[in-house]
């Protein structure tokens, strides 16, 4: 719109230079005339536009403020990575140390190895979670196929409940059941199946798998809610048509329910990929101990352990910046992938 008006203006100027005697250049074509009229009208209403723009801006202002408060303001915390900050002494009186902490991160292979292991853990846990992201989908379908309504509701309630239990309590339950003197070991010992208690919690075997199982137990029911809503929204005519074609229940699931749910699934999958590095720390924090620490320490937990546990807040800040770095790396990778496969880039 704006460009059209400029062009017409440009034409007018060219005409003027061309040596025509008219003071006001007459539009040549209908298109030019229309554009000129519009420009005149808009020039008159500039005040209105401004006010309208401010109103629209005010509408998004609260969101912008939130974004600034929660996404940009915390970036100032990165300052701590360049100082030698020791808690009771304020930052203003701390010594500026430049890149010292970043150098420490890479100064010896053992340290690099630790960070590498932490990244592997982070990727493994997130990867496992994404790999199992279709579980809630199947669970929702299975749940939907239960014909007894009461039973279905009961199952749904029971599987959704764990989502509302905090990880601390989950650990308390886990401890009561799986510690060396816990319920499970006692039971097995009393049945004379084992003679020595099995170490479920304090061993480094299958840590990733165990953590995955816990998070599945906690999140399965909750994760399926979205799909249940999706199933309810599927057009019943599709099923009727399938029935007319002679499809049995299983075929209906394969050919109607799943294809209809896939868009929902992909949206959720995308969201979970974008949350790749934010696999949280509370679960791993409560389950960590000397024996499984090597495999349970994800990035967030590592930053906490270094900063709060070992009292090296500046160093922990430097490590946490790694997360942003990896995120940018992931973004570039996904962008490249998207360009290659769809021809359209995300950013």
């Amino acid at each position: 719109m704006e460009s059209t008006t400029t062009t017409s203006g440009g034409n007018a100027l060219a005409d003027g230079v061309g040596g025509t005697t008219e003071t006001e250049p007459a539009p040549r074509t209908a298109k030019d005339r229309r554009a000129a009229n519009k420009a005149k009208k808009m020039a008159g209403n500039i005040d209105y536009n401004k006010r309208h723009g401010i109103r629209l801006f005010l509408l998004i202002a609260p969101l912008l403020i939130m974004v600034v408060l929660f996404s940009y303001l915390p970036l100032f915390g990165w300052l701590y990575a360049f100082f030698d900050y020791q808690p009771p002494i304020p930052l203003s009186e701390s010594k500026f140390v430049g890149l010292q902490w970043f150098k420490m991160m890479v100064q010896n292979p053992a340290q690099l190895q630790t960070i590498g292991q932490v990244l592997i853990n982070t990727f493994a846990m997130s990867g496992l979670n994404i790999l199992t992201s279709f579980f809630p989908l199947f669970f929702a379908i299975a749940l939907n196929e239960i014909r007894a309504k009461r039973f279905r509701n009961l199952i749904q309630t029971l599987t959704t409940l764990p989502n509302f239990i905090s990880w601390v309590l989950v650990y308390a339950v886990a401890f009561a059941m799986f510690s060396t003197t816990g319920m499970f070991n006692e039971l097995l010992q009393n049945l004379h199946i084992i003679s020595e208690p099995i170490k479920f919690l304090d061993s480094s075997d299958h840590t990733w798998l165990k953590m995955l199982l816990w998070s599945l137990w906690k999140g399965l029911g909750w994760g399926s809610i979205m799909y249940l809503a999706g199933i309810a929204g599927i057009d019943q005519e599709l099923y009727e048509a399938a029935q007319v074609d002679g499809a049995n229940r299983f075929q209906q699931i394969i050919h109607v329910t799943i294809p209809q749910l896939l868009p929902t699934y992909f949206v959720l999958l995308m969201l979970s990929i974008s949350n790749f590095l934010n696999n949280g720390m509370d679960q791993y924090f409560v389950f960590q101990n000397a024996f499984n620490l090597k495999y349970i320490q994800v990035l967030d937990l590592y930053v906490y352990n270094v900063g709060m546990g070992n009292n090296s807040l500046s160093y922990a800040t430097a490590i946490s910046m790694l997360k942003s770095l990896v995120s940018v790396g992931l973004l570039i990778a996904v962008n490249w992938l998207s360009k290659r496969t769809r021809g359209v880039s995300i950013v």
Partner: protein, 595 residues
Amino acid sequence: MEFKTALTRVFAVGVAATMLFSSAACGNSSASDEDDNSLMTVEVFDGLANYQGEQKGWFAKIIKDKFNIKLNIVAPNVAGGGSTLFDTRAAAGNLGDIVIYGYDTGKGSKLVKSGLIEDMTPYLQDTEYISKYKEATDYVNEQIGQESGVWGIPSAVVENLTPDEPSEGLEPTFGPYLRWDLYKEVGYPEINTLEDLVSVLKQMQDKAREESGSDDIYAMSLFKDWDSNMMNNAKQPTCFYGYDEVGFVLAKGDGSDFESITEEDGIYERTIKFFNAAYRAGIVDPESTTQNYDTMNSKYKNGKVLFSFWPWLGQAAYNTNENKAAGKGFMLAPLKDMKIFSYGATPRGDKTMIALGSKAKNKQRLVKFIDWLYSPEGVYASSNQTGGSAGVQGLTWEVKDGKPVLTDFGSAVLSGESKNVPDEWGGGSYSDGISALNFTTVNVNDIDPNTGYTYNPVMWPSEIEKANENPLNKDWQEHMGASTTMEYLKNNNMLLVGAGSSYVQPEEDSQISTLRGSIKTEIVNSSWKASFADSESECEKIFSDMIKTVQGLDIDSVLEVDMKNAKDQDQSRKDILKEYQNKKSSSSESSESSE
């Protein structure tokens, strides 16, 4: 338009709220100037406390009657998470009204620098006891870089003991303590060295399980609460051989050996292997890896554990009058080659101090309270939870014929029995009413000038006499040929006193402490893994892997610092010994020098 009005409204409310808060804050600050002696809740940030919340019971009643204060204890030990609580409260600018915290490794100077504690000098006019420990408070000043004033009073100060004497009473801080009744039943087998304990404990455990019929009795039970530079439990046996920790270094009390804990075939690896041997012999509680101190302590109380690194754990939990009368209890069973490390008495106090919070109200009253804690009455009343002073005169002890004796009530509760305090003393169970500050102001083995005896009742003639009466002690004395543990250790030259120099580690470079952070995580975790390895070769492998990893993490530059600190500590021990010897023999020396 509507937006504007709405915005104006929001702002108006906001401004009003801010003004309300700020005026409230003003109200607070103006009230702090005068003390109307009304009931005041004193927040104590206490690095030693193992209890969080309001002080209850008889101690609460005493201080309420005396100062009209209630104590609310904020305990980083209970909150857990390392220094998180300290950091967050320090960042908020107010640790507490009273601060009990270490002043070593630069912590004290940070407290001063960031304005969290205040000089007590302006409030000292009515106090009597704080000034007695000027040597100690001056020493604190020196360590925290202050020229003058009273910034903090260290714990465990003494007046009447010299630094070469053990600061402990009848029992050392460390020692191999066994359930003597079971040790007797298996025929007092000789224990030549640490590793022999495994078979002895195994026999004792079998015996105990056979007798009680319950198989949840384990000879050893470990816990991880106190792990820092190393697995805390694994340090304890090294103390049987005269070592104590300085960072990653184990230093012998007499300065004859300084050893890194990562040294191959060193004393630390030896104890890890000892734990592992014990684990493989099936005498280590499998809950060790997950339990905390409280859980473990209750196992001691119930007689489920047969070995203790410390008398103040095993004896305090299990040697009740009742058990002792039945001949049961923890007593020292000597390893033939041991030389137990003992902390010398510290005229300049220990590394923890009590200080006045800068944001406190009614500071005068608080300083008076702190002064009282250092008075004989306060020392008696504010003993810590494990084997301290005698308690309150009139309740737990009294003076008879010029000598202090425990009352029946006192004798019962101090031996660990649970009894309720009479209502006029505040009611509630005695043990719940013990001062939760857990802060020893004056070493309890120092002499109370009023009675002429120690604050610690076990050293009283009446108690020593009584102690000799019960079958447990009688049997022990008969077998060992000495009347008390200290006497036995001194007679057999099994005690190594690290002179009480109050050496304080200097502030550490933050790069070093960051390195230390990742190294100690590795060491602590590997130590636990190695202790609970399924075979000796696996244990050795974990340990040697650990050495490799920490070398990769650059332990050498941290060790350099620790080694220097250990040697400085040794030097300061030698210095203070010399100083006191000079004091002792100043007259004879002057005659010598004239010759």
